[in-house]
Amino acid sequence: MKLKKYLLILFCLLSFSLHAQQQITGRVTDETDGSGIPGVNVILNTSEGRRLGAVTAGNGQYTVQVPAGTKELIFSYTGMLTKTEAINGRNTINVQLKFESTQLQDVVITALGIKREAKALSYSRQGMDVSTLTEAPSTNIVSTLSGRIAGVQITPPSTNTGSARVIIRGNNSITGNNQPLFVIDGIPVDNETGDGNVRASSNHDNLDYGNIAADINPEDIESIEVLKGPNAAALYGSRAANGAILITTKKSNGEKFKASISSNSTFQQISEFPALQNMFGAGNSFKLEGSGSTNNPQRIPDLRVYYRSWGPPMIGQPVISINGTEKLYLPQPNNVEEFYQTARMLTNSLTMEGGNKQNNYRFSYTNFNGNSVLDGVNNNYRNNANIRVFNTFTPWLDLDSKITFVENTVKNRQYMNGSNRNPMYQYNFMVRDDQVSEFLNYKDEYGNETGSHRDFSNPYWLINENINQDTKNQLQGAFNVNAKINSWLKLSGRLGTEMYWTNGYAFNNKGAMEDPNGKMSTFNNSLKSSNLDLILFANNKVGKLSINSFVGAGRFQTENSKNSQRINSLIQPGLINLSNSSEFPTVSQFYSKKVINSVYGSTSLGYNNYLYVDLTARNDWSSTLPSNNNSYFYPSVGGSFVFTEAIKGIPKSILSLGKLRASYAVVGNDTSPYQLIPTYSFNDIYNNQAFATLSSTFYNPDLKPEKTGSYEYGIDLSFFKNRLNFNATQYNSSTTNQIITAQITPASGYTRRYYNAGEIANWGTELTLSGTPIQKKKFSWNILVNYAKNNSEVVSLIDGVNSFQLNALSVLVFAEVGHPYNILRGTGWKKDEQGRKLVAADGKPLLDENAYLGNSLPDWTGGISNSFKFKNFNLSFLVDIRSGGSFISGSYRRGYTSGARIETLEGREDYFLHSYIYGESAANLTGGYIHKDAYFVDGTPNNKYLTPQSNGSSDAYSESIFDASYVKLRETVVSYSIPSSFLKKSFLSSAKIGVSGRNLWTIYKNTPIGIDPESSVTSGNGQGIENGSLPPMRTFGLDIKLIF
């Protein structure tokens, strides 16, 4: 009450200062139920600019004094659409405001940035709620899509600076790219993953350089739309065969100068450490033995010769620790936890915009500074600057220009996965008596690594002596010129360019246990790509018939160059310079260029606002295909029928919109440059002469373009004036004539061969249900539920080839005919007809070398997002769900074979007792580890006891296969907008403060403690393998946004 009084006084004071010439009164009501809305800002648009005139009272009533020259009143209320009313001499102006959410569904952005009415679309698309994008930021914008959009599956990056994988509606290509095209303001951008789609078994030098999408500044994003199938993306050409993610960035709304600053601080920590045992320390077979060498006459056991926790019980006996000093052999239960810190990610942004409707600008600058839960690795510094200018030269000619510059530097990227240079991996199986302090002196007086177990480098050496750094400078430009020819014809020219220059080095100091001579490499990569399009639009209405057409021609060109230099031994320790080598550096130079020319066209016919037909056609000519096959045509056709418009008598208050839609599309696809003729490379010098190596891929000079055919149909229903919306889509796509490099028998002289063959079918269902169960003045609740189920089948590969390998780490990931994409095979536990595990006579598992171990793809994915608004408070949370799918955990397996994981305790004490105290022989143990519920081949139950250290279960990879299902509270945001009335006297026009959390709660998972079901070794196609990834993490954030 006091507040209201205060406000009233404030308004009275204010009104005195005005030269009141006219008084306008009126009432602001909610369009849905006609009730009055209190707290609506009534803004005067005067000749001197805008200012607040009044705020509506409890019943929505307002009275405002209007000075001369005021043309319009603007009614604004958070969460509702702002409405502008011309005064036109009126004294009473009553307005109705609409909720924003209902408006969002009306007009959507489609291919080529064309805005269309949602009800006219014949295919499914889904917009993402971007309201919490900046408040609960993720290190990679791709991760924020997870759980929000039906049919989009995200594999998050393994580190904060890594590459994420996104696929829409499953995998269409067996060996090629399956990720959608990113389109920013109508310009496709390269989103090549920076981990080179690494395979698990690749060498230990891999660093993940992140993907370009990670550099997109969330501050600049106005909207994100996902076009799911080839139907939606037919017009972006080949590169959108896997769908498209359209990002529209903000521009000035053409009003007066406005500036805003925002600051976001996010803190990240490990939420779940692996569960490790704390009874047995370093050693082997329960034993620790001193070498008995002359300098150790007492034969004190030296732990440096061990690297696994299979020693005796730790009861405080003297031992020589890994740093060479004597210590007591005692458990260190927190040695893994102590290794990690809380990471912080700070984002600060400044935005300025202004101008008028005809000519305006928006400038934004964002600085990001982040690090990692492991101190010293993945330090990231990023600057984004973006300027967007809109000019109207004449009433018929305008230009929209945008230039974005990104500078991204990462110091000390973490080596990937199971690399022996990845300190993270090693800590998942840290020897149980090691103290972090024993590692701190990682270097001896000669500069050699110390404090390492064999097979286990000193993590501080890895962090401090394997230095790498890279900087990517990225420049994107988008220029869009529009010329209105007449009332229904418009010509647009678009030029989009993307360039980046990356340079960096990776240094491995000499003196390392793994690599005593050290090495170093540097690289300079650059990419220049451009899209040039000329499009003629025609929009007309003839009677009940509306026509929406365009024809265009375009050219896409991309040039890539990669240069690298490498030296394989160092002279001077610590000198990071290529000249620091006693040998000639190895250099490599690679340049590629690709051109696609296209013509395309589309026409949409609408009849009487309820019947729509869409037709598109495109022809591409790609430089990567042989000249007789390089032209490919692909059409699409679709239609939608809005039966609520067509059939009279449907009560709109119940069923506001009902639509049936169906579409069919074909998309062609090409390949990478230079994939037609085999070539040799000179890799090295031997015997004082260079020698040449033929490409190990057998090329096909007659490649044809690949084809994805897809159809979908669905229904969209809106009830109770859009308070409840339901969409269902059924789709089916099949990619044939695939350009695949399939593994062939090496006896052919090659390891892979190019084919035009194979077929993958994907089909599935997507459902979304959204609604506003409560919508009151002070309280509203929105909910969005989505569900998607994708099925896939590898229909055929190549004649005579039944399967091929996509990835391997102990288990193999295959595309196999008759199975879904990405099945896991490997050495499994042999079972009898009843499905019981079989053991050999010695009690160890019987193995089946080529057992089916699972499928890495989820059965279904879904998400539930809720947002609540109470007065000026907003609360939103997102639950992300994945059901089904399997993966092998290399970390678990390593943790198990190393004797570190808590699971290895089973039978250990018992074995110790029976074997070492009772002295039973190995063959006649009456206690120890036993494989329970296992049987001998003759059907009798297993009764053989074993040592847990070699119980054989790690030989059966099926024992390290886990269910990848999860339910996670992915995102939680609470924000508070300071009422504008409070800010009235300040220089602020708006202020918002928010706290957020990501991954705060894993509601459900089936993996062992410390293993995240989402982790993966790669952003490439061969999913289903985890190895050396970080334990599950959560983040907390604080966000402040001020608008001046």
């Binding site: 246990m513 013509v599 028998t745 002289g749 039944n802």
Partner: protein, 528 residues
Amino acid sequence: MVLLLTITLVSCKKSLESVNVNPNNPETVSPEFLLNTAVFNTMKLFGGPMRREALSHYSHYVSVGGGQFPRYFTFASTNNGYWQSSYVSCLQPLHQIELNYKDDPAYKNRLIIAKIFEAYIYSNMVAVWGSIPKTNALTGSVSISYDKEEAIYLSLLKDLKEAANAIDLDGDKFTGTSDAVFAGDLLKWKKFANTLRLRLAIRISNASPAEAKKAVEEVMADEQNTINKAAETSRAFWGTTSSNWSYLYEYNIVGASANASSLNVISESLIQHMLPYSDPRLAVYAKPASQGPFKGKYWGQPKATQLPAGVSLPDGNPHSPLGPLDYSQIGDYFTKPDAEYVFLSYEESCFLKAEAALKGWGGTKSAEQFYNEGVTASMSKYNLPKQDIDKYLQQPGIKWNTVVDVSERKQEFEDFLGLTSSAITQANPFRQIVMQTWLAGFYNAMDAWTLIRRTQLLEFPPHFNPDGGEGGTVGYAYTPQRLNYPPVEYQVNNAELNIALPWLGDKDGLKTTLWFALPVKKNPFLPQ
């Protein structure tokens, strides 16, 4: 307007084609850049990781420690790697020479040399796996048929004969550095071809005596065109830059601390065959232990350091607390960065001829003469003094057709468990040839493994800690008789593989005896 654009675009078709010309790599290279590719990759295969974990261990020269192959089991990706290197890295460059220059008479000799080296590679591969793809290999086809082991040997014998006869000693040759084996010397290639033919014929002398005899007699009839002196040894050297360092140097010396648990160290069997005979080569092959309880002594590591099930020794197990560094390490001659890799040596040539002569299949000298020549060649290679060589050759058991007196020193010849002995107690010149071939061939593990399998004459203990259940009910496993086919063949060449599997008796395992080999000789002291 759009029509106009279309026309322009279509007319650009030609220019699109020129965009796709690879500026980075050549489409053809001359044979000068391909022979060494094959030679170097062959060294990297049979002298690389495969030698470290499988061959050197199966040859009983060294002991390796843990891991699948060293524990007489298989490992999918490693085995795939061996198979892939054989065809793609080793054979393919030679095949490219043949494919691209077969119609050009100016390259005649170079084509033959490619063929000879290809025969060498196949002769190793057939000894590793048995039946393998050969006739239709390297074509890039999706499925590649297998050739029977027997047929491969016969075709290699034929190819080598033709190659040796076809070399035109006045014709074209490789320039010096482009031929890392013989620096372009055509006569040496011819001698290599003939001697390799001799090796293969002798290798199949159990399996197909008639074919073997025919080929041996042909070669021996032209003995002057076989490897007859040290300078004709077929070998190549690793290099001094890091990318072509010897694998053993890289693994055992540079990576010594990283690989501390799995170093190649001298085996007990080698010491057992050399020390009691005062073999002067021991000081070249091995170093005394530099640490541990046996410091200063030649002390070899047994296959498995633990005792077999149910066995206990009165003084305990001397090996149980020892690590690899407590044993004799491999001599410096073999661990140099630019060590040699021997394809076929003069000494082996002598011993092959000794075998031929012993069988009465020709030769200008007697078996004994060839035997002595071989031992002398082997020792001279390491610059050992003549008196030491003569002294060695006069020893009982070493001297041709003599036996050694083991009374009071029986244990010196035995392994620590007393299961095997190196003592020649019954006159057996053939066993003497085999033992000397084995000793002379130190660290040429591929050839030694083949020798062991074809003769089954020398005594080596089995592995008491085999992996993957290979020990069966008795808990030990004998030296593998082959490697199994790699999983990649099951995955992508399955139909052809299924035709070949019955040739092995459907048992694609490490224990399956190949056609050329003899069954494992069982150890009489162990449970069968």
